[in-house]
Amino acid sequence: MSRLALTRADEPMTAARVGIGGPVGSGKTALVERLIPALQTRGIDIAVITNDLVTAEDAERVRRSGLIDPERVSAVEAGACPHTVIREDPTLNIEAADELERRFPGVELILLESGGDNLASTFSRDLTDFWMFVIDVAGGDDIPRKRGPGVIRADLLVINKVDLAPHVGVDLGRMQREATEVRGGRPVLLTNCRRGEGIEAIVDLLEREVLFRK
């Protein structure tokens, strides 16, 4: 599954590439901002790529966050094609990741935030070793039932903004159950990125499934 596992001894070690996709405003950047310190605390050397759609706002937000060396944050423009740049033609993202690896030889994990998209967006396996799809409870608890390819095929489904559930009339337990069901039992995790809840469980999963550390 992972490029790490397939890396031959004579090839330089490459970083694991982790995609983060999901609808506009679901909390992808908020999750990146939470994952950065959580990964760093565990001693994992990271870099970030953003695929902002119309401005470089997310890249700038992460660069200015003070959480990570701004040089380790690359922005890739998507030419108004958020799907294409992570799936049909991920070459610009691959080049950006290769470039980060060249500039920061010790980097172990590269987070790649896709531009906000719809439920049909998926990452190419040529680009990422692992990808997660972030939806939020405010988008409605029927999102998992719609069985979009993003929801179904992601290695991990993250349901964010759990704090909003009571305000939007969402039964969180049922939403998670249905999500797990449509995903055939593959992982579904709940987060509140505003308060940093549920982040450690994601990092545990990444350490186990992507970095093979546990």
Binding site: L53, V54, T55, A56, A78, G79, T91, L92, E95
Partner: protein
């Protein structure tokens, strides 16, 4: 005689869906539109004509031919450095390198022998990897002739410009076909003339260069160039 297999190779390699990141480059279309200098098909056709005659034919095509005729990696790198030196706009240079490196990366994965050896050179030198030069390398790896490689180079520029204009809402899908046909006729004329072997690359597209150069200053920006 109609050469089916050559025609099919061109359809594959000149396809706007060829995965080399072309969709993310507008080469000035986005900036010209933002500055109010491009708002309809007439304007677009004018910009494409400028791009083709004042930049592609006299600059990219010349660089491509130089890299094509180069006998070794060092000579290809010399053409590449010429591309760097003759492109005054930093954003144009950067865009050309990003597009070139993406195309090179694809051919490395396709195991193109020249692409593989040139990639090693490009990895070690941040000024190398310009698009026109890489188009020569990958054209050679693909087994194209020089004329076919030039045709793919010109055509992918045209489709990139037109599809950027469609995505920016400047023209519709039917108008886009008219623009492509107009540009195709212009490209045919340009290709009918053969440049001298010792021709030096040059370009004069001030509005396009300024539009691309102003890219980083614009808050709203969807394309790399």
């Amino acid at each position: 005689m109609f050469d089916r297999s050559a025609a099919l190779a061109l359809l594959q390699l000149g396809d706007s869906a060829f995965p080399a990141g072309g969709f993310a480059f507008s080469w000035g279309i986005e900036g010209l539109a933002a500055d109010g200098l491009l708002s309809n098909r007439g304007d677009l056709d004018g910009v494409i004509a400028d791009h083709l005659a004042q930049r592609w034919a006299s600059m990219d095509r010349i660089l491509l031919r130089r890299a094509w005729q180069a006998n070794d990696i060092a000579a290809i790198a010399a053409a590449d450095r010429l591309a760097e030196a003759t492109t005054p706009s930093a954003e144009m240079r950067d865009g050309s390198r990003r597009a070139g490196r993406a195309l090179l990366g694809v051919w490395v994965k396709l195991s193109g022998p020249l692409a593989v050896s040139y990639r090693a050179r490009v990895s070690a030198d941040a000024n190398l990897g310009h698009l026109a030069v890489v188009q020569a390398i990958t054209g050679r790896d693909a087994g194209l002739g020089l004329e076919a490689a030039e045709l793919v180079s010109g055509w992918t520029l045209i489709t990139g410009l037109v599809s950027a204009a469609v995505r920016l809402g400047l023209i519709g899908h039917i108008e886009s076909q008219r623009s492509l046909a107009t540009a195709r006729a212009r490209l045919t004329e340009l290709l009918a003339e053969t440049p001298d072997d010792d021709a030096m690359p040059s370009s004069f597209t001030p509005f396009i260069d300024i539009a691309v150069s102003r890219g980083p200053l614009r808050h709203v920006r969807m394309f790399t160039t």
